[in-house]
């Protein structure tokens, strides 16, 4: 097996901001004392006038971004996913979502693979929180290339948007050409298959690809879908998976309640499409400190558990 190229999606965000800063002179960036971690510092160095350090005061940061947007600015707001959503929910609800402000919240450190910092820093409810807000688009890109593209798309399209990436380096899945045609709201079939569909987002796309390889050796042909947009969800692609394959497994570094799995389940139930279905995610529990790989093993969110789950639901 060829060695994987690891690139941090956070760096891709920082680089995309620099490119976009040149393209859009109304683009501004706000951060809450985490610019070194979120990589907005890259923008801050290049465009110091358009970077606003807001200190450890996230609520003010979110509403200030809405004020900037009301004057025609294109604000990207960054901090860790816990502080970018739950901590500032009312601010996002009133000043961004309800006000339909053109503010882009780009959160890093989503999910449990944040690791040793523990529960206070492991955000597993953000997708659910953002998904219930009217007007809000919810995004979770999987690798650095897709992250760069998504940041560009966020700048191009008007309206409130939330995107989250993890903390860790991630193996490259795509080349630049693969994401050229990518659109918000349209999931991508990364690898096709006919027996079962993995519908993943963010950090769970790559393990699904690994699981696909293992399953292939055992005669199971899995499709891997990268559902980078959780809202609006790509209904057609979900229905295609129901028709083309014998079951669906969703996977996300997020609670099984309210996230990607829930979004897919809602479509399946309402469209009356019957299929074997399983949500992989955090099973309504808080996690703990540990290395990312130990956590993903204990909470059953890795390639090994994907293989096991795929075999189980096809068997039953």
């Amino acid at each position: 097996m060829s060695k994987k190229v690891m690139v941090n999606p956070r760096n891709a965000y920082g680089e995309a901001l620099i490119e976009l800063g040149n393209k859009y002179n109304n683009l501004v960036v706000l951060d809450a004392d985490l610019s070194k971690s979120t990589k907005t510092i890259m923008f801050a160095k290049k465009y110091p006038d358009r970077f606003f350090e807001m200190g450890i005061a996230e609520a003010n940061m979110i509403t200030t971004a809405a004020g900037l947007a009301s004057c025609g600015k294109l604000p990207f707001v960054s901090t860790f996913a816990v502080f970018a959503t739950g901590r500032v929910y009312d601010q996002i609800r009133m000043d961004i979502a309800y006000s339909n402000a053109n503010v882009k919240i780009f959160a890093t450190h989503g999910g449990i693979s944040v690791g040793k910092d523990g529960v206070s820093h492991q955000m597993i409810e953000d997708i659910a929180l953002m998904r219930v807000l009217p007007n809000m688009t919810v995004l979770a890109p999987s690798d650095a290339i897709q992250t760069g593209k998504i940041v560009h798309l966020m700048a191009e399209e008007h309206g409130p948007m939330y995107a989250r990436v993890g903390r860790a380096d991630a193996p490259l899945i795509y080349g630049k050409k693969d994401v050229e045609e990518m659109k918000i709201g349209k999931g991508m079939v990364v690898e096709d298959g006919s027996d079962i569909s993995f519908i993943s987002c963010g950090t769970m796309v790559e393990p699904a690809l690994e699981a696909r390889k293992t399953l292939a050796k055992q005669g199971i042909n899995a499709r891997v879908v990268d559902m980078h947009t959780i809202k609006p969800i790509d209904e057609n692609l979900i229905l295609k998976c129901v028709k083309d394959t014998n079951g669906i497994i969703t996977a996300e570094e997020h609670s099984i309640i309210g996230g990607l799995g829930a979004a897919v389940a809602e479509i399946l139930a309402e469209k009356n499409f019957s299929t074997k279905f399983l949500r992989m995610g955090i099973k309504d529990t808080f996690c703990e400190s540990g290395t990312p790989s130990d956590l993903l093993e204990k909470y059953q969110l890795n390639e090994k558990h994907m293989v096991k789950n795929a075999k189980n639901i096809l068997k039953n």
């Binding site: 501004v28 006038d49 358009r50 606003f52 807001m54 200190g55 005061a57 609520a59 003010n60 940061m61 979110i62 509403t63 200030t64 971004a65 809405a66 004020g67 900037l68 947007a69 009301s70 004057c71 025609g72 600015k73 604000p75 009312d90 601010q91 609800r93 009133m94 000043d95 309800y98 006000s99 339909n100």
Partner: protein
């Protein structure tokens, strides 16, 4: 506008009475809403919209306009009445406050009410929003000013103090905030609910220029706004000492009228009192 004479001030006071009458009628029709904090905020709003601010109701999105953000969103009736009287939308709309399929929501909405800059009603947001507007103004080297009005009880919200720190840090001298210091909030006297004094010292210690005036004296409000505009390298907080329910005798300093509308008898008495005030003012013209 810069200069004014005694007659101008009387006319502004007459406008304030008219706004108060609108507020009473609106709340009576809506059978809900917040009279106390709407009435206490009127004089500052009149000073801003009918004298001080650079604005054009025909061009509500003019990038060079001054902005006003009503952080105490429950005073929406006062803001709506001022916007309607100023020509942002027909005065007729005021009759439909809080009614289904109508424009004027219980609390301000910026997406479809002309002249409303920020969607408020959840307390503690407005100053942060004003910071964003002020930062954009600095970045674009525009010479507009941004104004925000907060309730005194509202400053219990932690976000207000985040915003206070940031405004001072960025030296936002294009920002003027006001506190409607009426000493009452839903559960009672502010100093009993959650002590706020010394309000002025708090804002000074956060690095703000502070001015304290009678919040019902329109001439003093105008002069304070001018002073705030010329003050450099600091945001200004104008503490408006006000009376909750101002202008209607039985509503004044009566916490029961924080969020309860007048019934028919109360409305009739209120309108009668305000009409008397109007006639007294007209007689001095």
């Amino acid at each position: 506008m810069t200069g004014y004479d005694a007659k101008d001030i009387i006319k502004l006071n007459l406008k304030a009475v008219k706004i108060r009458k609108h507020i009473i009628e609106m709340l009576y029709r809506a059978k809900s809403g917040h009279p106390g904090g709407s009435l206490s905020a009127v004089d500052a709003l009149v000073a801003l919209y009918f004298f001080h601010m650079k604005l054009n109701p025909k061009k509500p999105h003019d990038p060079n306009r001054d902005r006003f953000i009503l952080s105490k969103g429950h005073a929406a009736p006062a803001l709506y009445a001022v916007l309607a009287e100023r020509g942002y939308f027909p005065v007729e709309e005021l009759k439909k406050l809080r009614m289904i399929n109508c424009m004027l929501q219980g609390h301000p909405v910026c997406t479809y009410i002309p002249g409303v800059e920020a969607s408020t009603g959840s307390l503690g947001h407005g100053l942060s929003f004003a910071n964003g507007v002020a930062l954009a103004g600095k970045l674009d080297k525009k010479n507009y000013n941004v104004y925000a009005m907060l309730g005194d009880g509202e400053t219990g919200e932690g976000q207000v103090w985040e915003a206070a720190a940031v405004a001072a840090h960025y030296k936002l001298d294009n920002l003027t905030a006001m506190i409607d210091r009426n000493f009452l909030q839903i559960d009672g006297y502010t100093e009993d609910v959650l002590k706020l004094e010394s309000v002025r010292d708090r804002w000074s210690s956060f690095g703000w220029n502070t001015i304290e005036i009678d919040g019902h004296d329109i001439e003093k409000i105008i002069n304070a706004l001018k002073e705030a505009n010329t003050h450099e390298r600091q945001p200004t907080m104008i503490i408006l000492n006000t009376t909750k329910g101002k202008g209607v005798s039985f509503m004044e300093n009566n916490v029961d009228f924080h969020g309860v509308p007048p019934n028919e008898i109360e409305r009739n008495i209120a309108i009668e009192e305000l009409t008397h005030a109007e006639k007294r003012l007209e007689a001095t013209l």
